[in-house]
């Protein structure tokens, strides 16, 4: 239950951080941000990195700001930053309602938004958020900088598009149009537990019918994704029980749920149906 020995590095700039990472990555060197997933893994000795590059002291990575029509979230922005709305309007309220589902208060003081993306746990609320809202990730290394869309960034269970020498410096969420409504619904067994399933719904209204529907499902398959079949069931329909039930059935029929010792695929599929309905209703109310 004690982490194995490692070499500790504490760079002050992004340039120093990526230079160090390039040097130590071949020797299982890794980034340490909030540490709320990495450190327990090290305590179990499931991870024994030879080097940790601690980015908590890197200048500028704690920035959270509105840049034009995008919310920029630096690599060291903690979950707790979202407890109160970070932007005006429904998006800020949505993020502050989602963050309450992430572990517990003390964990949220340290854990980071970008760390959740880099960890890519299938049950991550922020991964679902980034995928559903078309977020982008900025990866930097000594080789340069690149931007990756959320759906491409998250490749599978605990697997991302980041190369070993790349640092996720920032995530960006586009600010949806003002009239966008959101609904988020998660099921888990204990307070602060991992999501067994969760659904994030977003849509606008034009002339009384649903427009720009987005329906994202997380915790169900190996990575979160939008469900086009459910979105098609909503597009152009009047919001209400009929459209919501059609989308719920479409989402449940489209997913290929994971199984675990407590949860059968059928049970997860049922949860998708129920959570989809609730998320759509919550966006409407």
């Amino acid at each position: 239950m004690k982490p194995a020995a490692f070499e500790y590095h504490a760079p002050k700039t992004i340039a120093e951080a990526v230079a160090l990472l390039a040097e130590v990555a071949p020797d299982d060197g890794r980034i340490l941000a909030g540490g709320q997933s990495l450190v327990p893994t090290m305590a179990f000795r499931l991870a024994r990195p030879a080097h940790l590059v601690d980015i908590n002291g890197v200048d500028g990575l704690d920035r959270l700001y509105l840049d034009g029509n995008e919310l920029s979230i630096g690599a060291c922005v903690r979950h707790a930053a979202f407890h109160r709305p970070v932007v005006d309007g429904r998006l800020g309220l949505l993020l502050s309602s989602i963050v309450r589902h992430i572990a517990h208060y003390p964990i949220r003081q340290r854990g980071t938004f970008c760390g959740s993306l880099a960890q890519a746990d299938p049950a991550s609320e922020w991964c679902l958020t980034a995928v559903t809202l078309d977020g982008t990730m900025t990866a930097k290394s000594v080789r340069g900088s690149r931007t990756i869309g959320a759906q491409d960034f998250i490749e599978g269970i605990m697997t991302t598009a980041l190369a070993d020498d790349e640092l996720l410096t920032e995530a960006r969420l586009p600010i949806p149009p003002d009239d966008t409504r959101f609904g988020f619904c998660e099921f888990n067994r204990i307070a602060g537990g991992f999501a067994v399933a969760m659904v994030l719904a977003a849509y606008g209204l034009k002339d009384g019918v649903i427009t720009r529907p987005r329906l994202g499902v997380g915790g169900v398959e190996e990575r979160p994704r939008r469900i086009p079949e459910a979105e098609q069931a909503l597009e152009g329909r009047s919001p209400g029980a009929q459209a919501f039930r059609a989308a719920s059935a479409a989402a449940a029929g489209a997913v290929d749920p994971m199984e675990d010792i407590n949860t059968s695929a059928d049970y997860r599929r049922d949860l998708v149906a129920t959570l989809t309905l609730r998320a759509l209703e919550s966006a409407w109310s």
Binding site: F6, E7, G35, V39, A43, R110, A191
Partner: protein
Amino acid sequence: MNGKHDITLTINGQAYAIRVEARRTLADVIREECGQTGTHLGCEHGVCGTCTVIVDGAPVRSCLMFAVQCDGAKIRTVEGLADGEEPHPLQRAFMEHHALQCGFCTPGFLMLAVGVLEREPDIGDEDLLDILSSNLCRCTGYANIVKAVRAAAAQMRRR
């Protein structure tokens, strides 16, 4: 690999100049190098919360930070709550409401609740329940912990 780091931890206002391996958690170093054994260690992977301390104003799990990350940080532990012989209002409320039995989880609950109440004195009952679900207690069933924290919150607001 086994290089040691010279760091200074400030715990309850007292500076401890120590030399530690990077792999040592803040919790272990508070207890062993600094001798402040009021902070308890239960699960050592961030689940139980008995190691909760306040680092630069935020209640955090000290088993999920490395001590080397806290060089220069202001750390508060359960030893720093009382004012001399006078217990902190929350400590007094824990006694009055029988909010502990074996006491193993108590330092973590005290630091969690103090950390939250100092930042959010007007926190609502629902939010408080959510926050108290962060830590594990296997004796009390939580009801008396909730009562004690609510009573202390009211008293801290009056002061």
